[in-house]
Symmetry: C2
Subunit: 279 residues, 2 copies
């Protein structure tokens, strides 16, 4: 079985298992087979293995899209996710700082502009738009910006992302951004679902998501091109797949923590945001 | 109300709350009052605020001590907790590397010996003893040592601990170790409960815990002495309390993740340890 076929096989969730109830990943298989994948095969492996673990499949997002979250649960989501949004330009600045190539830096710099804001159309930037979303859900923006009341597990996951891009190879740092391959699918599901199912959510509140629909594909295409170019040994190809899976783990862990604290069993970590009793 | 009284008041879990349903911490109160606590007051604040958030109160530990965890859940605990055990000497080495004082380093070095092993009584060291525990619970030690099948949230929490001691002041790094003030209480509850309520657990399996009963108080006394000496402004005292609370958050988040994945709702993150169906 080729690595690509094996990665596809994994989608069934009944893929090969190690003796102690743990699954082999697509990266494990590339390392084991030791064969260099073609750029197209690597791309397909990244797409399949990454989408399989993308947080679009998390029960918290399923509840959100089904209109089944309370306003308080939506607040908890926006407040925690802010920590992630706020860290994105920092992690991108780290990536800039690690490249020797002005052309790469010029292209990657667009991501910082998108989030921190710039001139013209992108004046506000994603972070300001996310705060608008939080405010639209009834949160105090200073409280959100302090990040103090996020779940500790959220902060740890975000810190792990910053550590990953700081401490690994530039290939790994770039490959970890490839979850953006899937984000238009997530946004395409989420925005209409939110507008239809939560009467207090307006298009204006969701202004964050609209520019992401063209920014994310542009960024993902650039990153994918570099990853398939730079990953020129089986080990480096496996590293790239591992990086994408690690990023999926980060996004997934953020939703696990939200679900645990605010859905089921509903045990909020000491010191974290507690929705007002009136919500 | 003094900060100490306020910290005690917080124990009732009906302490002062900020407008958006978030609690003021003992560190917030020290900063707000701006009064330098005496060493005895600081010690009392650390003991009260730290014990209040110590993971001994987590539902997962309560289930464990009540004999209500399955062997598979105990395995998940041992496998995940190994990540923490394995990182301890690394974080202590970082602390060593950040001090200019040979006397401090000589004292702190004992912690590394305790975990990595040395001569005579401490030959094995805590890490080897933890692997014995994992093996006694039926796990493959190579799988445990790989750390690959731990929950991502466990790895992120452990990484946050290493980051904390790397990136903050030496005072904060030392203060974050003060959860050891409470560990003899936890061990004193856990060991007899485990021996009484899980027939597959023997004293030999639990060999990790016995030396901790004299190591932890020795280490905590040293750290507490330094923290009360070094924290010579209200801000530094608040930093020390924050450090202890941050460490409590780390330990708590590890149990949140275990509880979420293996108790309720039982959603195991993709790629993480899945107990064998026969357990």
């Amino acid at each position: 079985m080729t690595a690509v076929a094996a990665a596809k096989d994994r989608e069934t969730a009944s893929g090969p298992r190690l003796q102690s109830g743990v699954e082999e990943t697509a990266a494990d298989r590339i390392r084991k087979e030791g064969r260099l994948l073609s750029p197209a095969e690597l791309e397909q492996t990244l797409r399949t293995a990454g989408f399989d673990r993308y947080h679009i499949h998390h029960p918290f997002h399923k509840l959100m899209n089904a209109g089944e979250l309370t306003r308080a649960q939506m607040q908890a989501w926006a407040l925690n996710r802010y920590c992630y949004q706020a860290a994105i330009p920092k992690k991108d600045a780290i990536i800039l700082s690690r490249s020797e190539d002005p052309e790469f830096r010029r292209e990657w710099r667009k991501r910082i502009v998108d989030h921190d804001g710039g001139d013209g159309e992108e004046k506000d930037g994603g972070i300001k738009r996310w705060l608008k979303l939080a405010e639209g859900l009834g949160l105090d923006t200073d409280m959100v910006k302090s990040r103090k009341y996020a779940l500790p597990a959220t902060r740890f996951a975000v810190e792990a992302y910053v550590d990953l891009v700081s401490q690994s190879s530039l290939l790994v740092a770039v490959a970890s951004s490839l979850t953006e391959l899937f984000s238009p699918v997530a946004i395409g599901e989420r925005v209409p679902a939110m507008l239809a199912r939560y009467d207090y959510i307006t298009e204006d509140t969701l202004a964050y998501f609209k520019p992401r629909l063209h920014q994310a594909p542009r960024d993902a295409e650039h990153a994918l091109h570099l990853v398939t170019l730079w990953a020129d040994t089986p080990d480096r190809q496996a590293d790239a797949v591992d990086a994408l899976l690690a990023k999926c783990d980060i996004l997934w862990a953020m939703l696990d923590a939200l679900h645990f604290a605010y859905v089921e069993p509903g045990l909020i970590a000491p010191g974290a945001f507690r929705p007002a009793a009136t919500e």
